[in-house]
């Protein structure tokens, strides 16, 4: 029993509700959300250290022992993602203070962001399948509100699609949970794992597994990503950064958790499907990233390509690949947030989303230019930076498991992504100065400071890989051996 485990969920939830009372007082809103986001970072660092010292931490809600009650489980994998989430959301909040505009702030913007964070934290920490569904819905309903807030024509159109697709996938989620409950008779993930292992993962269980794969792929943008590029282009940059960094990753986390903890008995079937989906996602994401000439679409397709890459690591499913997955997941959350935030500054300074109408930003804002350049290199995986280690481990793991073609695709993908990022860099920063717009934000200084903080973390994650490695390896232990998770939850 450790009540700390619920705090990452509780802090943003409480903050979100408090902010409803102050929705007209912008200064108070900013102070409360700033302080609470820093408190979240502090708490999640604490949780990571505690899990490192004392192993998996669990919390039985209301004192009911699992499998009867809801249990919150902080293993190293979940805690690392919670930490990354809190860092990313703190950065996005501080970025929003200067960029989002008083109109949106007055209409509960910060409340929605905190509800979104609460949903994400809950999804990472919960050890109960239906509670995972509820946390997904908390996150999604907040994201519906954030995507439509402002009410421009484009936002309204994309919101309609986004909500429709997510309602369909949530309905499928409930159906899948119902099938699984009928087949296994429990919803606690650890207990599910025991039951599935006892009964054997036969035909019905595999069908349910594939249904879950479809559900979470719709949420994560793995192959079924057709809704994603449009939706991520509509809202303001900081909202797109939150989406790109958090929402798809929650779907991925759910896939990884389900297929390492519960449905790991038939890898010949399920993991092969994941492998194919990952390959298709990488190809289509890479093509999309070089095909378009506007910043938001290029970045959205980069998100998709990253999702495909992580899923490939899961399909390979050996120790090297799973360590790579954890590494790359943390890196991807940070770097996607960073790129969307920098992209937001670029679009605001240039006054347009179209690459052809930009140019020469480097003379006006050299710092921004070089920061974008370094983060582009980090995303693609140039050695001293953070993308490298995860990518190397996944490629190595893929080769060990005999996925030669998919490994080839993933390496070719890095080239395509590099091309797409340099496309933005060369068009926006080099060349003649084109004053397409005067820029919405006059002084992006705080925005640059926030992005620089993220960039430093990204560099640290690459250079300081030696320090991060024990944590990642502890996280991979649980993914490789479901028994560790089951023992922590069920035997106390």
């Amino acid at each position: 029993m450790n009540n700390m485990v619920v705090l990452p969920l509780l802090i943003p939830l409480f903050t979100a509700v408090m902010l409803i009372f102050f929705h007209k007082r912008l200064t108070i809103q900013r102070w409360i959300s700033g302080v609470s986001s820093l408190a979240s970072v502090f708490v999640s660092v604490w949780i990571v250290l505690e899990v490192r010292e004392e192993g998996i931490q669990t919390l039985h809600m209301g004192g009911w022992l699992p499998p009867y009650g809801i249990v919150f489980v902080a293993d190293m994998f979940a805690s690392l993602l919670v930490l990354t989430t809190s860092v990313v959301s703190a950065a996005c909040l501080f970025y929003a203070f200067r960029s989002i505009g008083a109109d949106r702030e007055r209409n509960h913007f910060y409340s929605f962001v905190h509800f979104l964070i609460a949903g994400v934290m809950g999804s990472f920490l919960t050890g109960d399948l239906f509670n995972l569904f509820v946390c997904f819905e908390v996150m999604l309903i907040a994201s519906y509100a954030l995507i439509v807030l402002g009410g421009t024509r484009r936002q309204l159109r994309e919101t309609l699609k986004y909500i429709l697709i997510n309602i369909v996938s949530s309905t499928l989620f409930v159906a899948a949970v119902a099938y699984l409950y009928a087949a296994a008779g429990t919803l606690n993930m650890a207990h599910l794992s025991v039951r599935v292992a006892e009964a054997g993962q036969g035909g019905i269980m595999t069908v349910i597994a594939v249904l879950f794969l479809i559900v979470f792929s719709l949420k994560a943008g793995l192959f079924l990503f057709f809704w994603l590029p449009g939706s991520y282009g509509a809202p303001p940059a900081v909202v797109a950064a939150l989406y790109g960094a958090l929402l798809t990753k929650v779907g991925l986390y759910a896939i990884i958790r389900m297929f390492t903890l519960v449905f790991y008995h038939e890898p010949g079937f399920t993991h092969t499907i994941i492998g194919w989906m990952a390959a298709a996602t990488m190809i289509l994401g890479g093509i999309g990233a070089i095909a378009y000439k506007d910043v938001s679409r290029i970045l959205s397709y980069n998100v998709i390509a990253g999702v495909g890459f992580i899923a490939f690591g899961l399909a390979a499913a050996n120790r090297t690949a799973l360590e790579g997955v954890i590494y790359y997941l943390m890196h991807d959350m940070l770097i996607k947030a960073l790129l969307f935030l920098l992209g937001g500054i670029i679009v605001a300074l240039a006054g347009t989303d179209k690459l052809q109408q930009m140019g020469g930003l480097i003379t006006r804002n050299p710092l921004l230019g070089w920061m974008f350049f370094i983060s582009a290199l980090a995303m693609v995986g140039v050695p001293p930076l953070s993308g490298f280690i995860g990518k190397l481990l996944i490629v190595q793991g893929g080769l060990e498991s005999g996925f030669y073609w998919t490994t080839g695709i993933s390496l070719a993908l890095s080239l395509l992504l590099l091309t797409s990022m340099l496309n933005i860099f060369m068009n926006a920063f080099w060349g003649e100065e084109k004053m397409a717009g005067d820029g919405i934000w006059k002084s992006p200084r705080l925005l640059l400071v926030v992005s620089a903080a993220l960039l430093i973390l990204v560099i640290f994650l690459g250079v300081g890989a030696e320090w991060v490695d024990p944590y990642v390896s502890q996280a991979a232990d649980v993914l490789l051996d479901a028994q560790l998770y089951i023992d922590a939850v069920l035997k106390e």
């Binding site: 009540n3 619920v6 509700v17 409803i20 009372f21 919390l59 809600m61 209301g62």
Partner: protein, 141 residues
């Protein structure tokens, strides 16, 4: 066009009290019988909606000067705090407790902390429903 429906308004004046009483009964019955915060909140909301139908928006607002938006938020805070209170006693989050007390008139009564959680749910449901209904009916642009 403004019209006055005497039958509707007179019936409403009686019915609203019956519905309100029933909703409170349902709210407190939830622990041992069908009912609870969610359905209680909806029934109270239906009483208020009946008022809105029988009278106009402004006169209902004069007699019930609540900000329903904030009522919903207060409800969530109450529910979250009942969970958080268990942190102070060093028991797991959302732990509940109950006790029997002898109240005048009611006699031996069971007081459970789950009722406070339910009260939060009740306020949230009421606040959310009324926020939706009033903001749709106010939108005239």
């Amino acid at each position: 066009m403004k019209f006055t429906d005497v039958f509707l308004q007179t019936a409403t004046k009686t019915l609203v009290f019956i519905i309100m009483t029933f909703s409170i009964y349902i709210l407190f019955a939830g622990h041992h019988n069908p009912g609870g915060g969610f359905i209680g909140g909806l029934i109270t909301a239906s009483a208020l909606v009946l008022l809105y139908i029988a009278f106009d928006l402004q006169s209902v607002r004069d007699i019930i000067p609540f900000n329903f938006n904030k009522l919903a938020a207060a409800g969530v805070i109450i529910s979250v705090l009942t969970g958080t209170a268990s942190l102070l006693f060093n028991v797991p989050f959302l732990s509940q407790t109950f006790t029997y007390v002898y109240l005048p008139l009611l006699g031996k009564t069971e007081l459970a902390s789950a009722v406070i959680f339910d009260l939060g749910v009740y306020m949230t449901v009421l606040g959310t429903t009324m926020t939706i209904i009033t903001s749709i009916s106010e939108d005239e642009k």
